[in-house]
Amino acid sequence: MVARAAREIVPGMVVNLGIGLPTQVVDHLPADFPVCLHTENGLSGIGPTLQPGAADRNLIDAGGAYVSTVPGSAFFDSAVSFALVRSGRLDLTMLGAFEVAATGDLANWKIPGRFSPGAGGGIELAQKARRVVVLTSHTDRAGNPKLKAACSLPLTARGCVARVFTDMAVIDVGPGGFVLRELAEGVSLSEVTEATAAPLACPDADIARF
């Protein structure tokens, strides 16, 4: 799914990759792929992640990983960093999720009573990136569906998610709800339907595999 998600990135885009699975997407891009990676703590043009021995103590991404620059990188303060996000200069963000609703609502920052670290920059990424896609396991650790008719957890943003990449499928969020686009190798239509707690349209007779 990570390799498949990497194909979502169009040449020339400015992209923010959220902590976790999304960060791994970069490993599936060619070394000379024309893209500008943004991190909300103040860098456009993220270069490869570095091992601690080679790291610069002043150069991290928003997840705390030691990263590097590329020719043409720029550093800026936190206000400029989110100005870029809110003013429409971020073409794409890839985020993790606790829940995605068939309306595109996203919940990924709080589980009341269990996990309340604060939203960080997630709300602005979800609400203002030109395109928001989610990378997530199709179900949680207990096997419960993460794709639902409506979110039960506190929202990150309403109606923001355009597409979801999971270990089972690629699913778009259309005006009428979830639409199956692709299936992972070895996964059947009935398996993904069963693991999804909302209606899943399947317009293509011959569904693509990834």
């Binding site: 040449p11 870029l84 809110r86």
Partner: protein, 230 residues
């Protein structure tokens, strides 16, 4: 990952501006005014423009050419006292002029660039600049709602650019340029020097490349930059 090249011929960049566009123009007096981009806009002749600029330059300089050519319908500015033509056109109602306090114009543009809807301030509350503006109470005090300004196009002058559009300004030629370079859907920057990727130190970039759409290298410096006019 390699950052894309945004260099562009000036004719092509300016041709993307339609009639009726809202155009932000950097500069405070002479320094930082994108004279070459303005000249091309005069040559192409787009009309009915709303121009947002700190001042109206002086006669024969910068946006005065746009005024003289009848291309400007509306001017959002802070001070036009050095341009008698602008004053005369204002008095003759040949151009609509909206005055702002200078720092509030800067903040309205910045708010547009930051994706905010408005700022709340007490600047100008006791003046006629407050007329017609929404007021709200914050903590028992009255504040003016100063709405964010965005433009279709921003015309920027930089000292140096790299091909990705990272920009650096010099001295007081910075002024409104970095603010406007964040606040338009299409940002066109002319640069005295265009450097390859890596030509600017990441810590010394004033406008990050993701905000900029087109970089126009200047083959020669406009004579409008000549020191001393008055």
């Amino acid at each position: 990952m390699k950052l894309p090249d945004k260099t562009c011929p000036i004719e092509e960049a300016i041709a993307r501006i339609p009639d009726g566009a809202t155009v932000m123009v950097g500069g405070f007096g002479v320094p930082g005014t994108p004279f070459t981009l303005i000249r091309e806009l005069v040559r192409q002749g787009q009309r009915g423009l709303t121009v947002i600029k700190n001042d109206a330059n002086e006669r024969g300089l910068g946006i005065d050419h746009l005024l003289a050519n009848g291309q400007v319908a509306r001017l959002i500015t802070t001070h036009i006292g050095l341009n008698p033509r602008a004053i005369a056109m204002l008095n003759a109602e040949e151009v609509e002029v909206e005055f702002n306090a200078q720092g509030i114009l800067a903040e309205r543009v910045r708010a547009g660039g930051a994706g905010l809807a408005a700022i709340l301030t007490d600047i100008g509350l006791d003046t006629e600049l407050a007329q017609g503006k929404q007021q709200i109470e914050i903590g028992g005090k009255t504040k003016l709602v100063e709405t964010a300004l965005r433009a279709d196009v921003a015309l920027i002058h930089a000292d140096r650019s790299d091909v990705f559009g990272n920009l650096a300004y010099v001295a007081t030629a910075r002024n409104f340029n970095p603010l406007m370079a964040m606040a338009a859907d299409l940002v066109i920057a002319e640069a005295e020097t265009v450097l390859p990727l890596g030509g600017l130190t990441p810590d010394a970039v004033h406008t990050p490349g993701p905000f900029v759409d087109h970089v126009v290298g200047l083959a020669a410096l406009s004579e409008e930059y000549a020191v001393v006019r008055r």
